[in-house]
């Protein structure tokens, strides 16, 4: 009986551990749009928080290091598996998000904006 419980808890533990790019502690609010699609799974997640700080997979990073770091994580992944989730705070300005988009493009990532469904 207890063996089943232990196995289940271990399974849960490894599921949580597999989510290495957890950025749930970063404070940001998504922008809204009408048409949305599933973002799918990605190895890279970039967040620009409400204070315009950039986080790569939950860790703060400077703009200069962003493109090489993304390139390193993506490695030689084939097209279609090079998705980069971009989570930008809705009130962030072009001064902050445009260089990040450019860095993703330079690293050869497939950009996916994480957004929220606009209520009708």
């Amino acid at each position: 009986m207890a063996m089943g419980d232990i196995a289940f808890n271990l399974l849960i533990f490894f599921v949580i551990l597999a989510r290495a790019q957890d950025d749930s502690h970063v404070n940001w609010q998504p922008a809204k749009t009408k048409i949305l699609e599933s973002a799918g799974h990605s190895k890279v997640s970039i967040v620009i928080d409400s204070k315009n700080a950039v986080h790569l997979n939950g860790k703060p990073i400077g703009l200069a290091q962003l493109s090489p770091a993304v390139e390193e994580i993506l490695g030689t992944a084939p097209a279609g598996e090079r998705g980069v989730l971009l989570k930008v705070h809705k009130d962030s300005t072009a001064l902050h998000f445009e260089p990040v988009i450019e860095a993703i493009s330079e690293a050869g990532g497939d950009l996916v904006h994480i957004l929220e469904k606009e209520s009708p």
Binding site: I35, A39, H89, L95, E98, L111
Partner: protein, 141 residues
Amino acid sequence: MKTRRASKLLIEPPTSATGDIAFNLIVFFLVCASVQPDTGRKQTIPRSEKQDQQAKAENIEVLLTRGAVAINGNPVSIVKFPTQIKTMIDAKARQQDKVVVVKSKPDATYQHWITVTSIIEEAGGTITIQREEERAVVLPD
């Protein structure tokens, strides 16, 4: 005479594992709730250096400020923007000519940028961004 009583004992199910089961259920639903899939919008942005200057000049140019939008330098209301940009994109015959250069003022918000670029993509345009420092600066002689 001694009559034999029928044995109708109440047997309670073992409850020692109830706590474990409850705990596992809580953990399971917590994990389920936190692993919700993200939703968003894929965007392909071609690298700006691939385009030559002549092609750039022929492309439609959209300028974003904090709350306004302009097409080829002419301010357009956000209500009329979808119709106007669609007309202009549809007028281009080849797919490679349907590139829309999006220039943003530093104070343009992400929400505004997403709204405008969504409209452009829905109209069939391909977005390329041109940043402030990339723009040509003409100095006086």
